[in-house]
């Protein structure tokens, strides 16, 4: 039996800055996972990925990453995606640095 589909977000890296970005329901990109579109249907996920890849001129390496619904939007399932969401653990760089400056 096929494994049940788990919810996904589409994520990639920005072409110029290289930082982690997420695909939103309105076909734009956000730096913030909680703003991403959570896709719960497998067929829809493939279509949305194709839609995201239309913007390959300004993004790199879009893929579907497991995510779950949280109180404030999608949250990571795997620790790798958690690091991508936050930044490294040895310095407050990356997204955690950006957040500290808000």
């Amino acid at each position: 039996m096929a494994r049940p589909f788990t919810p996904k977000v589409i994520t990639a890296n920005d072409l110029l800055e290289g930082d982690v970005i997420y695909f939103k329901a309105d076909d734009s990109w956000t730096r913030d996972l909680s703003q991403a579109e959570l896709i719960v249907d497998e067929a829809e996920a493939q279509l949305r990925l194709l839609e995201a890849e239309k913007q390959n001129i300004s993004i790199v390496g879009a893929y579907l990453a497991d995510a779950k619904a949280g109180a404030n939007g999608p949250e990571p399932v795997h620790f790798r995606e958690d690091f991508r969401r936050k930044g490294p653990s040895n310095y407050s760089h990356g997204k955690q640095e950006a957040a500290a400056h808000v």
Binding site: N13, L15, L16, E17, G18, D19, V20, N56, I57, V60, G61, V77, H78, F79, R80, F83, R84, G87, P88, S89, N90, Y91, H93, G94, K95
Partner: protein
Amino acid sequence: MYKYNAFDEAFLAERNAQFRAQVERRIDGSLTEDEFKPLRLMNGVYLQLHAYMLRVAIPYGTLNSDQMRALALLAEKWDKGYGHFTTRQNIQYNWPKLPDIPDMLDALGEAGLHAIQTSGNTIRNTTADHFAGAAADELTDPRPFAELIRQWSTDHPEFQFLGRKFKIGITGSPNDRAVVKAHDVGLRMVERDGEIGFEVIVGGGLGRTPMVGKVIRDFLPQPDLLPYLESVLSVYNVLGRRDNKYKARIKITVQENGIDKIRELVEARFEERRHEFDGTDQELLAEIKTHFAAPQFRSGDTSAYDAAYNNDPVFRAWADTNLAEHRDANHAIVTISIKKHGDTPGDATADQMRVMADLAEELGYDELRISHQQNVILPHVHKNDLPVIHARLKDASLATANIGLISDIIACPGMDYCALATARSIPVAQEIATRFDALKLEHDIGHLQIKISGCINACGHHHVAHIGILGLDRAGVENYQITLGGDATETAAIGKRTGPGFAYDEIVPAVERLVDAYMGLRTDASETFLETYRRLGMEPFKTALYPEAQKKVA
């Protein structure tokens, strides 16, 4: 030190101009990522977890003060104020923006540095003994040969699309500080009948299939170096597998075909190739050698050093761990630890880089080295200058006295940065160093190498550590396997796995249990961890690591 000539400068400027145009074409959409990726990799540009990463070669680990300042400039102007020195004598910048990278490469070019062939399936930066030209035990300085290899391999048309990457390491000393047996080709200078030549080792490597290299030629005369290397590469290029990325390195080619068959093929190819070399390479080598003439070492007594050593215990502790024997009795080799307890192994800030550059310029014959152990070296220092150097290093948080000790840990970037990683390495290293610093035990523990990799590719050299740690992803959770008994020197050995791995919060206590066991088992303080392991084997350490399992058996 090698100084670029007009040809080198023009070549590099043209190459950088080409890459600038390639970046522009990617940004304006003329190139797809699939087209651009191999081009950026050829110039050391990776895309990692959070950002691009630029890997800059430090050829055979040698820098002058201006080059170190150029590295500081890049860190400050286009990155986040620091750089990360790696196990392959490279420096990595973790946060460059793509449009800035051509400017970074131009700034490097002005200092005689580049990022060419720091990635991709080509011949990578040739690494060398970081004490080259200074060590008391050295036959001859291997760096002119390494520079010859750099020039020969850069843009070599036959070897731009190898089956996989290809790493060469070289040492001029019988004591191997360059891990040459874990390279695709290792070159070890040996003496026979009064002539110095190379022992050529092939098929070593770490990664998912760790292997100690095998001797393919026990004595290669110096003039035959390039034709012989070209023959090894040529045989590999034809015979190496291209159907499976994980079986593509030359270590697998050697394993599958046998060293005897490889040797036979290489020797046959060598007979063909050597005639194509008309002596131009030897003229070039002779010219290169003039750049590496040893400095005029200052004479004079060492009374200031002796006084500091006898009167200042902090200086003495540092001198005991961080100095190595120089070939001139009044000089010493200084290893500057960039492993302060709790800091990221291998990271130096722009300010620290400038302090080290200034010390090299003022008191170190303008030479610096980067070691595969992720530290910085002042290879030539008159002993009387050591107290001043120590004081200035202390002011810059660079005077940690831990070289060769448990906190002198090699750690790859791991999942804090690397797109390939399966677990974190850096925080594990930070916590081990902090823990043993708090216990105030590390000088008592003595020589002990811990090396940590955040994935099976083994950039952190965990296979050749006395205590190796490999971070894996087990069902979505970080898990760390331990290996014991690895050795990175001329008696190279691959460590053996102890058993099941440990969770992130269990790994530091596990290391502590291992060290406690060693302290109880060693004959006396002169027996190192590795020697105790070799004497007693795995069992007592397993008992210490897995007390629960032992109880079940009992």
